[in-house]
């Protein structure tokens, strides 16, 4: 017999779920990181390791998350406790915590995009003054505005999540199609610019020599993991609102492919705009791509938009798209927290309110200090790789074949034994390599002080904060809250 769920704890339609999950995974990284990576690491050639990573790591991980979410109807803590055993609840708490730690600063980033959209309404992206981009950015980040826009983002988040899955469905049903339309408008403007061929060449010229560069592979795997949201616990949480015989496998493929499709659309707009306009300011486009996510988006693009026809409109639309992408991800990241609170028996409205207030307050340092935000982005961005490995461990523990059969039940496409190999071996090994590479990189950034927890991007700060989080989460969810977890599990039989 099919179980009966409250309306706010289930998706109304399949398309609603698809929009929600694509909205969750298409975030700022699709718009500000993917185009840079593609331009810098071999153009079309970058897509070879990227596509391999999509099939060997991302889609298998999404399927694993879907199995736990659909089978338990819970988020990460109770999901792990119910699916594999109560002593794994603290590992579910780790997955949740990494999301929550990201949520604190991601709401601030989302606020930046909203702020820059409102700036666009004043026509700022239609006028060029040398150095204006940096000046605007510095004035913005040293003012109260990041805090103000973070408040607005949290009010929107609370309003959406207080209504549960149905609230998410309504918001993403509107924002996700709008996002694709806006990205298409920006892409069409960019590729019809005189000289757009240079940008398309950056994007699609295959430079096979880059394939022998290990860094291109590691960046491709990192991009896939951060962009598709595989291993974050978001897909698990959204799958908790599915029915017992709903599809997992086809939805996972749609997530991976939809996410990349949005990234390519954004790439057409961003790479081409930069390639055409940067030389007009005497800049090498590759230097602009190398400026980093924030540098490219909030500093350089604001100076480059005035150089294209209808730049004021395109610039404003660009930041609206960035806000839509970031906000639909923000609600997904925050939902991992809210659903975990709801699982502990707190009513949803209260959970959304408490979660949003806490999210704003604990996120204040990120709104006030870029160093703090960058540090948290570094520590927990790499921490997501640990979460992804945790999912492979859970799949091993509960039986790869059994999990494959569970995923196939009700799914519109069936997966074969290849999934066992990917989730059991290829995924954890490749993620461990990527993880070690990032830590090795960070040691080269601070050869003398790499061990220091006080450096923004050091290996020391990662290890220190991870160990602290592991100890606290183990004590809280392996010991202190265990009676509550046991009681809730017993109540549900």
């Amino acid at each position: 017999m099919e179980e009966i769920k409250k309306p706010e704890e289930s998706w109304a339609t399949r398309l609603g779920f698809i929009f929600a999950i694509i909205g969750a995974m298409v975030g700022s990284g699709n718009i500000w990181r993917f185009p840079r990576m593609m331009a810098m690491y071999g153009g079309g050639a970058f897509l070879i390791p990227y596509t391999i990573a999509l099939f060997t790591v991302a889609i298998p991980l999404l399927i694993a998350e879907g199995v736990i979410g659909r089978e338990t109807g819970k988020s990460t803590i109770f999901g792990f406790a119910k699916y594999v055993g109560k002593k794994y609840a603290w590992l579910g708490a780790w997955v949740a915590w990494v999301n929550i730690a990201i949520m604190f600063y991601y709401a601030v980033v989302c606020g930046w995009a909203l702020a820059y959209f409102t700036k666009g309404l004043t026509g700022i992206y239609g006028t060029y003054v040398a150095g204006k981009g940096l000046q605007t950015w510095e004035a913005f980040t040293s003012s109260y505005q990041p805090l103000l826009f973070a408040v607005i983002v949290w009010i929107f988040t609370w309003y959406t999540l207080a209504r549960g899955a149905r609230g998410i469905e309504k918001v993403t049903g509107l924002l996700v199609p709008s996002l694709f339309i806006i990205l298409a408008v920006i892409a069409i403007r960019a590729i019809t610019l005189p000289g757009a061929g240079v940008g398309l060449t950056y994007m699609f010229k295959v430079d096979p020599s880059k394939l022998s560069n290990a860094e291109a592979w590691l960046q491709a795997y990192s991009q896939v993991l951060w962009s598709t949201g595989a291993g974050w616990g978001i897909y698990l949480t959204y799958s908790a609102y599915l029915k017992k015989n709903d599809d997992i496998n086809l939805n996972s493929h749609i997530t991976g492919f939809g996410d990349t499709s949005a990234a390519l659309l954004a790439g057409l707009g961003v790479i081409t705009t930069v390639a055409v306009t940067a030389p007009l300011l005497g800049l090498n486009p590759l230097d602009v791509y190398a400026e980093g996510n924030v540098g490219l988006t909030f500093i350089w693009l604001t100076e480059l938009f005035p150089k294209i026809p209808a730049g004021a409109l395109i610039g404003t639309l660009f930041f609206l798209a960035l806000f839509f992408a970031a906000f639909t991800s923000q609600i997904a990241i925050a939902e991992v927290l809210i659903k975990n609170i709801v699982d502990f028996g707190i009513p949803r409205e209260k959970a959304a309110l408490y979660g949003s207030i806490a999210g704003f307050i604990i996120g204040i340092p990120a709104a006030l200090s870029l160093d703090w935000l960058n540090n948290q982005d570094w520590v927990w961005g790499v921490g997501l790789l640990i979460s992804a490995i945790v999912f492979s461990i859970i799949m091993w523990k509960t039986g790869l074949e059994k999990n494959r059969e569970t995923a196939n039940r009700g799914s519109d496409i069936k997966i074969g034994k290849w999934w066992d190999i990917m989730i059991g071996y290829v995924s954890p090994i490749s993620i461990a390599i990527v993880l070690l590479w990032w830590l090795k990189q960070s040691i080269s950034w601070y050869p003398e002080t790499w061990w220091k927890p006080t450096e923004v991007f050091s290996a020391g700060t990662v290890i220190f904060q991870w160990i602290l989080a592991f100890i606290i989460l183990y004590v809280l969810f392996g010991k202190v809250f265990m009676p509550k977890i046991e009681a809730r599990l017993a109540e549900e039989g």
């Binding site: 240079v198 699609f204 010229k205 599809d247 749609i254 499709s261 519109d412």
Partner: protein
């Protein structure tokens, strides 16, 4: 600047692969859903 033929070919292959398969998968999902609803 005139684009090389190989660039245009790669663009068609890449966009066709990702955009084409995304649309195909979504269409398949909606068809399957319709089938389940009418069964």
């Amino acid at each position: 600047m005139k684009m090389e033929g190989s660039v245009i070919a790669t663009m068609i292959i890449v966009l066709g692969f990702y955009w084409g398969l995304t649309i195909y998968f979504v269409k398949l999902a909606l068809e399957k859903e319709k089938e389940k609803a009418s069964a």
